[in-house]
């Protein structure tokens, strides 16, 4: 049987104002599956050496999840891949919801954008037709306002829009892409789209997505959906990821004040659970992706605050502006998150940049009054002016908009000692000094400091500090990377991870039912290994070497507070783990697929 889903790649050249289509062979889908696997495969063909991420040669690739627009729950997702302006290396991420589904209903497996438009442009893919429209009237608008205006212009409330906000237009290196209120958040894909003068991509598609075996697909999808409404996803449905704040605080490993502390006494004042438990003090709105039974997003706004938007309360976002900036005011944190969403900024990197700025100011390296309100840990009032300055790249905001690695180079005075990043991507909200396998994953991850590509921290958290044999940790990190790679190629939401018993076997069965291409559990695992090797190969062409797989110097200093005080990343141990990791990785065979 041939691959049942859409197999067409639509290539857009913004410099020339042209479009072209070609179809992928079954062999490609067998090798790369879809989603991140397909997006990275498409990027690989364009990278032959170092390139300017903000130049016309950089591709911006959108690849549909192979289960999008099917009955499979939590699967209306797509991958975005490009070369990151933050890291200079491969960046691949995910977004989700209606835009993902309609990409497939347009008959597309992927959309590839190259070049730079002469003027600000909106790309419209209207079923089979491609149009380039003037985006000048949309400049300065948030993604949500852009979506509203484009729908009005098209007279179609169902048109699906992926857009950048003002930060992407301004070239902030950690600007996001937004569709349906969901973001491809990390690594600055929004800056790449802005550099191409592409404000938005509108999709209108009503085609049917064919299933290889509709009955078998419905049976497996129904089983997953039933499990996704049960206790396996209760955390996401009942509390949302913001509940991590109390857990990590209890464990003594909640990074605070730019990782100068691992405890945060005021956690009860900033946890979103407080809003949920407040019995009427806050309005809670629930949201989620199209076709997902979990609806994980818990949005809050204090009642009576006229004009204040409800803000998403994801753990990473709350951590970034709360504990990491030393801020103990939930409303201020929610306002900061909403401001980032309106500007089109990654909340993790924005919070990290402000926290880095706070430490620089407290050390006397920069003007503490650069944003009006004092730039110091704990000052909630500085968050919004700092975010506005970063989004517009004004004053000190222009420096922080480079990301902490480049900002430290501008500021000098050894500020790089406390610039919390790996390969240029800012650290998320977990304490690597207490989590040895996670620390290894942060160092080796092809994307930089990503908690979703080498997500071993739950295993580490069961025994912080590490009784586990180090000889097993490198394999743990690889297992976690490969596991994530399969999820990201099938583009299933990882929040339903506990809805599977034997994930590889069940996912292989699902792949076969939906696509008609048979694969087994071992085949999925092999595909994941190939994905990693492809990512590593791309980075090598871009100039990456193993010497880039380092962690911030602060992590080699001991934790100073809480029950885990004294733990640190030991350089010799990390080096030994990296050697074991490399040794295990190079043993895997590498299969290539010819370009079409």
């Amino acid at each position: 049987m041939r691959y049942a889903g859409p197999r067409t790649v639509l290539e857009i050249d913004l410099t020339l104002g042209t479009s072209a289509r070609y179809d992928l062979e079954d062999a490609v889908f067998r090798a790369v599956l879809g989603g991140v696997g397909l997006a990275v495969w498409l990027i690989e063909r364009s990278v032959h050496g170092p390139l300017d991420p903000l130049g016309p040669a950089n591709l911006l690739v959108f690849a549909a999840g192979p289960f999008a627009s099917t009955p499979v729950p939590a699967a209306n997702k797509h991958a975005v891949a490009t070369i990151s302006p933050l890291t200079g290396l491969l960046n691949e991420g995910l977004s989700s919801s209606h835009w993902s589904a309609v990409l497939r209903r347009c008959g597309l497996a992927a959309l590839v954008v190259r070049g730079t438009a002469a003027r600000w442009t909106t790309l419209v893919v209207d079923n089979g037709e491609v149009r380039f429209e003037d985006a000048a009237p949309l400049l300065g608008a948030s993604a949500s306002v852009t979506t509203k205006r484009l729908r009005e212009m098209l007279g179609d409330r169902t048109a699906r829009v992926c857009a950048i906000g003002p930060a992407g237009e301004a070239g902030v290196r950690f600007a996001t892409l937004d569709n349906d209120g969901r973001q491809a958040g990390r690594g600055g894909s929004g800056a790449v789209m802005g550099a191409k003068r592409l404000k938005a991509i509108v999709l209108r598609g009503r085609g049917r997505v064919r299933l290889a075996d509709p009955e078998r697909t419905a049976a497996i999808a129904g089983m997953i959906r039933a499990r996704a409404l049960g206790p396996a996803t209760a955390k996401y449905r009942v509390t949302g990821t913001g509940a991590n704040l109390r857990v990590l605080a209890r464990m003594g490993q909640l990074p605070a004040r730019n990782f100068t502390a691992a405890t945060f006494d005021a956690v009860e004042r900033v946890t979103p659970e407080r809003a949920r438990e407040s019995r009427g003090e806050y309005t809670e709105l629930r949201a989620g992706c199209a076709g997902c039974p979990v609806q994980c997003e818990h949005m809050y706004v204090r009642k009576g605050r006229a004009g204040a938007p409800a803000a998403a309360s994801e753990y990473e976002s709350v951590w970034a502006f709360g504990p990491n900036c030393g801020v103990a005011e939930l409303d201020a944190v929610l306002d900061a998150i909403a401001a980032c969403d309106a500007a089109g900024l990654d909340t993790i990197s924005t919070g990290a940049a402000i926290a880095f700025g706070m430490e620089c100011a407290e050390r006397g390296l920069i003007d503490p009054d650069a944003f009006g309100s004092p730039l110091r840990f704990g000052n909630a009032a500085v968050l919004l002016p700092a975010i506005a300055a970063i989004a517009a790249r004004l004053g000190l905001g222009a420096t922080l908009a480079l990301g902490v690695r480049a900002a430290a180079a501008v500021i000098g005075s050894a500020a790089d000692a406390f610039a919390m990043h790996a390969k240029g991507l800012e650290l998320p909200g977990y304490e690597p000094r207490a989590l040895p396998t996670y620390a290894l994953g942060l160092a080796t991850c092809t994307r930089g400091a990503c908690h979703n590509r080498a997500a071993t921290y739950d295993r580490d958290l069961r025994a912080p500090g590490g009784e586990r044999d180090d000889a097993l940790r490198a394999q743990d990190a690889i297992d976690a990377e490969d596991y994530a790679a399969v999820w990201d190629a099938l583009v299933l939401c990882k929040f339903i991870r506990d809805c599977f018993g034997d994930f590889y076997a069940e996912a292989a069965a699902l792949w076969g039912a939906v696509t008609g291409l048979e694969i087994d559990a071992a085949g999925l695992r092999a595909a994941a290994q190939h994905h990693w090797q492809r990512k590593r190969a791309i980075n090598a062409r871009l100039g990456w070497t193993r010497s880039d797989d380092v962690l911030p110097p602060r992590l080699f200093e001991p934790i100073v507070d809480g029950p885990l005080a004294g733990l640190r990343v030991e350089p010799e141990r990390l080096a030994r783990l990296q050697q074991q990791y490399e040794s295990l990785r190079v043993r895997a065979p590498f299969a290539t697929v010819a370009a079409p």
Partner: protein
């Protein structure tokens, strides 16, 4: 024995702490029996219907740091915490 609750367990119980009646030291089966006796609503939500294990990603950590495995015995002084751990989004 005082047990600290987090996330869905706390939401379901409606409180942060729960007192359970159990002979100390206890092991995981004894703990689960006492926990579900105190909070029957946990059955099928936090603890399996057979009451013999936590439903992932819920688990028991002593003092928020040590997982309980095999026949490990523990008491209130070990500060049991029912919480959840799941990585990657």
């Amino acid at each position: 024995m005082t047990v600290e609750l987090f996330g869905p367990a706390r939401a379901l119980a409606g409180r942060a702490l729960i007192e359970i009646a159990v002979d100390e030291p206890t092991d995981l089966p004894g703990f689960l029996a006492a926990l579900t006796a105190a909070l029957p609503a946990f059955v099928g939500e936090i603890v399996t219907a057979e009451r013999d294990a936590f439903i992932a990603p819920n688990l028991l950590l002593l003092d928020g740091a040590r997982a309980v495995e095999g026949g490990v015995r523990f008491s209130a002084a070990d500060r049991p915490c029912v919480l959840f751990l799941a990585s990657g989004g």
